[in-house]
Amino acid sequence: MKLKTLVMAACTTAIVAGPAAADLVFPSLDYRTGPYAANGIPFADGYADYFTLLNQRDGGIGGVEARVLQCETGYNTERGVECYESTKGEGALVYQPLSTGITYQLIPKATADDIPIHSMGYGRTSAANGEVFSHVFNYPANYWQAASGIILDILDRNDGNLEGKKIALVYHNSAYGREPIRTLQELGTQHGFELIELAVDHPGQEQRSQWLQVRRDRPDYVIMWGWGVMNQVAIQEAVNIRYPMDNFYGVWWSGSENDVLPAGEGADGYRSVTFHSVGDDYPIFDDIQEHVVDAGLASGAGDQIGTVLYNRGMYAAMLAAEAARTAQDIHGVAEITPAMMRDGMEALEMTEERMTELGLPGFGPEFSVSCQNHGGPGESAIAEWDYDTQAWSIVTEYRAPDMGVIQPLIDEDSAAYAAENDLPMTRCPAEDEMMMSVEDILAEMRTIGLRLDELADMLEAAQ
């Protein structure tokens, strides 16, 4: 009988909680349990807190309240599908799947349902090609750009010459971990460094073999593509073999406080590539403290603010909110649909000015998204861990990746996807079709009998 009551209760909720009008729905497929909970919690907190801040401080986005639907996936693909299906009916504007596996599942589904996906710094790298992937966005940077970003920093430190150097890649033995290999191999032939590939099997609790090998081969630099427990163990082992930490680079999923803290003092100087800023030294955090944490509305325990992954979640939320705002501007409606949201994401432009307005000066690189390019320019910077202050800090400029190497890889992979799924390769109008020349405009005006000053009046009125 107990089960029956539960089912009844569930049915009632399903009815009561039906689609509520007049808010902007942002589902958050997060994971606060399971093997990656330690990383999922701060991200989810940041994502939710930013929208709470907008609601509390500004009354939502463009006057419409934002609603975050948290759905626990536990990093499990089936739960992710369940989350997607249960939230999409509520008018979900954009999905942040927070798992490469779930992203892959959702790419065809969400495209068919006309809902955009934003896989920020994960997911299918070649989705940067907007010509093929109409509903998938992975701005501001992807894995191949991260690999290039790390090599750029190493190049900088070696006066642009890596001839004869040895670089080891310690990677999670999965699709995710193998992402950078192609890019690094190409860069290796270009710059003349030798790439040593060291695979670590999931989950990565035991990495003695790999690090003994690093110790024997003595690579000049080590790059890590790890996730979850693999990060902590790798950094600990690197400390144990006394590998110089400032020659040890992690991808952005291997560069949070969680990863370096267990190794203690030895992790000082460990570096990680990132596409957004770190630390809590931004005006927005005062607002979050005031409007969210002190008001008792913080998601989770409220103790994650300013950590790398919290910032990343908040950054993702900020980009989503800005895209929603852009969509509101384009379509002139406050209550946008997922299709409008997609247009907003495609027209998103992040400027330094705007970020300063939002209380996040210099938080990320400036970038703009276009129909062709859903990945942005892919600029990345290097952050370094300082044990004494217990904080990460950005130590380089945001640098543009070597797109000469990456673009062909993106084109190749997205073409393969298009061929496999029978999709058009040229979805976007070519640049010259979009721009009307001045002569065309004048000719058009003559045919409809419109004078220049009338046009000027109309433009002014429209503004």
């Binding site: 209760a9 909680a17 599908v81 033995n173 699709a175």
Partner: protein
């Protein structure tokens, strides 16, 4: 009251060995089949199909398969995830290599390939028994996952290492890919479930099923009365893997649409299917369905109840979910160690006599 029967009027062996000897039972099962085939497809929403029915049907196939091996033949296996991966990757390779081949045959071919792999990894069962065998099948699980991860040929050397199912149609309706209508995928899976459940029932009450059970109950005794352990054990591995291969194939092609081996077919899948058959009931077809339904539905119901109804934070709900699932497993085992199927049998017995239990 219900399940009433008066005396034994059967006059032929065919009558005596029918699957549903009680008329009401038979009618209920028939009604369920009619409902599943003719009514449910028209009232299906995306959510019901994708979040509940498809995982239920697909895991029911896997549970049937594992139940043949573990429940009927007594060989505990923890390689289910790996075998499902074999089914999935065979499907992917066949789909991309032969674009014109009907997906229906591809699924069956994937099952046959998996059966071959299953026999190979079933060989140690001739020497190793009990928990030792369970742990030995983990070798299959880890090796297969590693291989699908490492050998580029299996995922057509794609940069992402993920496999994704292109669109394929049956009778003009898309079954796989993003444009598949929910009712089509549902019916496609249902046909397999129905056919395989039918097959299981007839296998298990025939000669081969009886030899499996003889091996399960005591293999030495079975050998002495003339059951060939080699053929019996390997046939159980083959048929079980055939089922599991089909479920892996459907899991990838129809349900998920894209998969990465470590995430979709990891060790937790092996455990999940094993939980299903133990909770449902070892050596019971109904138990396979009940166990699959239990493990698929419970988290969804708990989530709806605590997160959406009471409004607790999702992480608390997820933790409670573990506590409740674990607690329920223990509770069921204490109340009825032989699973939901045995519980159902007890209820049936009670119903037969109700309302006059004496």
């Amino acid at each position: 009251m219900f399940y009433r029967e008066a005396g034994d009027y059967k006059t032929s062996y065919v009558d005596d060995s029918q699957t549903f000897p009680i008329a009401l039972d038979r009618r209920i099962y028939m009604a369920a089949a009619v409902l599943a085939f003719l009514v449910v497809p028209f009232v299906m929403t995306d959510y019901l199909v994708n979040a509940i029915m498809m995982p239920f049907l697909i895991f029911a196939i896997a549970a049937l398969g594992l139940n043949i091996l573990t429940g009927y033949c007594g060989q505990v296996s923890l390689g289910t995830g790996g075998f499902m991966a074999v089914g999935a990757y065979s499907t992917y390779k066949l789909m991309t290599a032969f674009p014109d081949l009907n997906i229906f045959f591809i699924v069956i071919l994937s099952g046959i390939i998996t059966a071959g792999v299953g026999v190979l990894f079933g060989l140690p069962s001739l020497r190793i028994k009990g928990f030792y065998l369970a742990v030995a099948t983990l070798a299959a699980q880890f090796f297969l996952v590693w291989m699908f991860n490492k050998v580029g040929w299996f995922y057509n050397y794609s940069a992402s290492g993920q496999i994704s199912a292109p669109e394929r149609t049956v009778l003009g309706q898309a079954v796989t890919g993003a444009n598949a209508a929910p009712w089509v995928s549902y019916l496609f899976c249902l046909v397999f479930v129905f056919a395989l459940a039918w097959l299981t029932r007839n296998l298990t009450r025939g000669r081969i099923g009886r030899s499996w059970m003889a091996i399960r109950d005591m293999d030495i005794a079975a050998e002495i009365i003339g059951v060939n352990p080699l053929r019996t054990k390997l046939s159980a591995f083959a048929i079980s893997s055939f089922y599991i291969g089909i479920s892996g194939s459907l899991f990838f092609a129809v349900y998920l649409g894209a998969a990465e081996v470590g995430e979709a077919f990891g060790i937790q899948k092996s455990f999940l299917v094993l939980f299903m058959i133990i909770i449902g009931g070892l050596g019971s077809i109904f138990g396979s369905f009940a166990g699959a339904a239990f493990m698929v539905l419970l988290p969804v119901i708990l989530k709806l109840f605590f997160a959406d109804f009471i409004g607790w934070p999702t992480d608390l709900v997820a933790h409670l979910n573990f506590i409740i699932v674990g607690g329920l497993i223990v509770f069921f085992l204490i109340v009825e160690p032989h699973g939901l199927a045995a519980l159902w049998r007890t209820i049936k017995e009670k119903l037969r006599l109700w309302p006059f239990p004496h």
